[in-house]
Symmetry: C2
Subunit: 451 residues, 2 copies
Amino acid sequence: MWGSICVMSTADLGLPVDVPSTALFTDRYELTMLQAALRSGAAGRRSVFEAFTRRLPDGRRYGVVAGTGRVLDAIENFRFDAPVLDFLRREGVVDEETLEYLAGYRFTGDVWGYPEGEVYFPGSPLLRVEGTFAEAVVLETVVLSILNHDSAIAAAASRMAAAAGGRPLMEMGARRTHELAAVAASRAAYIGGFRSSSNLAAGFRYGLPTIGTSAHAFTLLHDTEKGAFTAQVESLGRDTTLLVDTYDVATAVRTAVEVAGPELGAVRIDSGDLLLLAHRVRQQLDDLGAGKTKIVVTSDLDEYAIASLAAAPVDAYGVGTSLVTGSGHPTCAMVYKLVARAASDEPDAPLVPVAKKSSGGKTSIGGRKWAARRLDEDGVAEAEVIGSGPVPEELRDRQMLVPLVRGGEIVGREPLDAARARHIEARAGLPVSATQLSRGEPVLHTEYHLG
Amino acid sequence: MWGSICVMSTADLGLPVDVPSTALFTDRYELTMLQAALRSGAAGRRSVFEAFTRRLPDGRRYGVVAGTGRVLDAIENFRFDAPVLDFLRREGVVDEETLEYLAGYRFTGDVWGYPEGEVYFPGSPLLRVEGTFAEAVVLETVVLSILNHDSAIAAAASRMAAAAGGRPLMEMGARRTHELAAVAASRAAYIGGFRSSSNLAAGFRYGLPTIGTSAHAFTLLHDTEKGAFTAQVESLGRDTTLLVDTYDVATAVRTAVEVAGPELGAVRIDSGDLLLLAHRVRQQLDDLGAGKTKIVVTSDLDEYAIASLAAAPVDAYGVGTSLVTGSGHPTCAMVYKLVARAASDEPDAPLVPVAKKSSGGKTSIGGRKWAARRLDEDGVAEAEVIGSGPVPEELRDRQMLVPLVRGGEIVGREPLDAARARHIEARAGLPVSATQLSRGEPVLHTEYHLG
């Protein structure tokens, strides 16, 4: 029982990199359903699956689409190679006919979706996957893993970015989440408005700007704080950031300026009453002639703590735990539902809408859907309109879904900066109450125009 | 900007598998601190780092150590290969002297820790890493990522297992968390008491038993529910689990027994009032002569919902979201602190304790520590005793820390089942209030015996 399990890592811009498969990031039942559908003959029925959420996390006013680029990588690298097929055979997961199907698996269908960085609301069809039942059903688990995780992080990042105004946010949460979730979290945080990350793997994999200088351990390693600061400045330059709260903050700030001079880049405060300390340290730095030395604060910040520091002389925020855990909402409750399928096993059978109907909840709306964002007369978004018939004339140029995969070919790749810029624009187009941090209803209601 | 980033995947039992590096799951500041310490000459000082938490998540009564085996893999695979070094050089992260050090990096120190599956309390030194400052500091980020994530999941799993009594728990949360966090979550859930997982990658990587049969989409794909059930039974056998809540539950149960006969393995209920439905379905199955057909329930279960079903005729629970998000506490607040280091740069300088001392909180206790669990006269644990001097005679055979790495060689590998069994035993040794689900204080208080 061994093997290597790797994340997809085809370059964002499509460089031909040979990478391992994402095929096992899959619940067993996707493959047993496939086997039974191959047996019944229904596996080839054209099918439409949609990913959406029934609600936003409690109190949140909008969601943020993130992970789309990673979903495209996952679809491209969803292959069943020999070690994987051997495993499935050895464990008796599926029969030989199914293994044969999987050995040749390549997604050949179409995917549409909200572009990455967009905002979404309850019912928004974030992703629509169309193909045979067989090829579309097996993607469910990995598609949801990515969208549920990455969108949760991006939503938290977006709230923090709104709270920070124009001040830069640095992602520092790697140590608080799974080591690879951390890399995806850095990427999602960047889309949501963060500027940089402490995570070297995020720099390596996604080209994110990385930051960081030193921790308390570095000061404690040296015989004196002054010795530590001197070592750091000699090695990393005067524009480094010195951590000033290992012993006494006021003493450390004085020592820092003594060692680095007024060219000192920044000081970092990582504990205590940040509001009070920021004011005191700013005053002290100014008095010492270090008026250009910046103040960076870290220490269990979330969007509320960031907002509370708006009037403090803080130049940048470092955020860890609450970012990578979605600030109270570490997942998004996205589901991936069959909403339409061919009426019969005939090759050209028309699509019919389908939906779970039991009385116990978790129902959904059948039919292949479009979505559009209606604007009011001032150009501000006023409703998320979702329909399954023809798109009304007045909404045609306000449609949300864009092509991501056409006939199995990825067509929706884009640089991360495009998603980041799109998010800023999408959020700016919402009613102003969108960026209130207080709990509330979604800022747009969802209207259904069912054909 | 491209490359593949992979999880470590050396076999649990030490098979020689060539795997990519974990070295970039690291905050940039670990490497810049290293550079500055190489410059100051302090990088070679013998240092002791300890991982611990200052508190348990609010209301929790004990923590569960998980991820230790993954930490050992991460340490073993922490290497800086050419693409990684090129990246660090290109981005200007560190200077050539540091790159040279990293190119030859192999951890050569010692690691002690609480064995995986043990319980822990505030202050428990879960992991103690000893070596030069240089070799020990750079492990901080990946060690914390693993312990913080995996222990959070194991703690939730343990509460759910206690609530489930002897009934089996199935982990089904892959779709609710990052695709690789999901694999680690399955592993941690197994340690905490789960019996199986839906996640094929967890089966592939860790040999966990995998389970799963079908979803609503499979029923909706077919023209009738009966057609779907027939297809599933023909393909997967009569002992399969049929999902009975797509349309009407009572109708579905009747159809299920009609199709599969009384040998039907199980029915699954995934929505609605599970308590009520379980009783009704049990009665109906019994009336239909399917007295041995089991009832599996899923649908946003957590430890409280599981406990509320204790008196219901439920045979197994499937748990997703709340497991993989730590049931409200997705991370553990573990930190990795320098607690002692050589008094000078001399090769044989004695260790001196060090600790952050500023008034703003986040202080810690210096010194290389031991830990022991004191029992009362009935053999029940009564205190977690942590000290930095000699171990008192009466606690010598109650010590918690075991050797995991000696002189760079991994000595602490063990099968997952050993950690799973250890957890059951460790929890059973706690005061009975440990498994109360209600919020409370840690069931053991932490005593410090500082030398």
